[in-house]
């Protein structure tokens, strides 16, 4: 089983032109992979480096924070054998918020993709069941986007009234 440092080296060796950044915080490493290659990188990590569990799949909205792109999709991996965590991130532009689906790699991916789509409006190409998971099915927006008003667009007053 590979340590996190070895895993970073292996990902960079395999995709020298597609790793656009790396870092470490609190003992956990991450790599930024271009979104065209992110599924291949995840497959490499799962099949040869032992990260067999997708713990979480989510996104971050970097609106007006000087980031390269507005959205960042985050894959949090875990290796049951070596008890190591590893994070893969990818930048997603605002104009074309799509990423390929990871549902062929992990059965847990569709759930995270549904939540990420529900909250951020990021589409996952190839996910056949991209329905809302937290918000009501007829909800009109993606509320975790930073430009979504905290108090909503009036959805909370949109119900019939009953009187005696």
């Amino acid at each position: 089983m590979a340590t996190q440092e070895e895993s970073i080296a292996a990902v960079i060796a395999r995709f020298p032109d597609d790793v656009v950044g790396q870092g470490v915080h609190a003992g956990q490493h991450w790599v930024f992979v271009k979104r065209e290659r992110v599924i291949e990188a995840l497959q490499l990590l799962r099949d040869t480096l032992g990260y067999d569990m997708l713990m979480d799949l989510t996104a971050v909205d970097y609106l007006n924070q000087g980031a390269p792109e507005r959205f960042c999709v985050v894959y949090q991996l875990y290796s049951l054998a070596s008890n190591e965590y590893f994070r893969v991130k990818t930048w997603v532009p605002e104009g074309d918020p799509t990423v390929d689906t990871a549902s062929d790699l992990w059965k847990s991916a569709p759930w995270g993709e549904r939540e990420t789509w529900d909250m951020f409006g990021i589409t996952f190409k190839g996910n056949k069941d991209l329905r809302r998971i937290l918000m009501p099915t007829d909800y009109p927006g993606h509320p975790l986007r930073k430009d979504y008003p905290l108090k909503g667009n009036g959805e909370r007053f949109n119900f019939p009234k009953y009187s005696r």
Binding site: P136, Y148, G152, P160, Y162
Partner: protein, 159 residues
């Protein structure tokens, strides 16, 4: 004295109105709409320590068709609001509603896109209980207030 002196012992006269109200008042069956932390206090109210059955309201009905007092205890999200409205509609008249706690009454600290800002925006509420969460004594007080309401209203008003 009057009519009663003509009747056998053990019988008494009253008005139908008063008798029905007396029965209603002492057998309020709550429908617990407990969706958050306030529901814990509602459960505590039903335990032997606070003993809501002293007031005839211990028969918690999870079927709205058998209940006449809805206790909304907890925060109502916009996904839950249609459910609440449906259950309210299923309850037969006469029905009453207690809005328990800050969240049910006005949204509390959750002034966000996903929270209904007070169930009284959509269903009629008879008694509000302040607090986060209210103590069981607060809920008992609210039940007694509902009992007073029942005792003082005209039967013809609700049927």
């Amino acid at each position: 004295m009057g009519l009663e002196s003509w009747m056998p012992e053990g019988a008494l006269t009253t008005r139908v109105d008063e008798l029905v109200k007396w029965g209603r008042k002492n057998s309020l069956w709550p429908m617990p709409f407990g969706v958050a932390c306030c529901a814990i206090e509602m459960m505590a109210t039903l335990t032997s320590r606070y003993d809501l059955s002293r007031f005839g309201s211990e028969a918690i009905r999870f079927s709205p068709r058998q209940a006449d007092l809805m206790i909304v205890s907890g925060r109502i999200s916009i996904k839950m609001m249609p459910v609440l409205a449906k259950i309210w509609e299923q309850m037969p008249e006469p029905k009453y509603c207690i809005s328990m706690g800050a969240c049910a009454s006005c949204g509390g600290i959750f002034d966000t896109y996903t929270m209904v800002q007070g169930v009284d925006n959509f269903i009629p509420v008879d008694v509000y209980i302040p607090g986060c969460p209210p103590r069981p004594e607060g809920l008992i007080d609210a039940v007694i207030k509902i009992q007073e309401m029942v005792a003082n209203e005209k039967m013809s008003k609700r049927h």
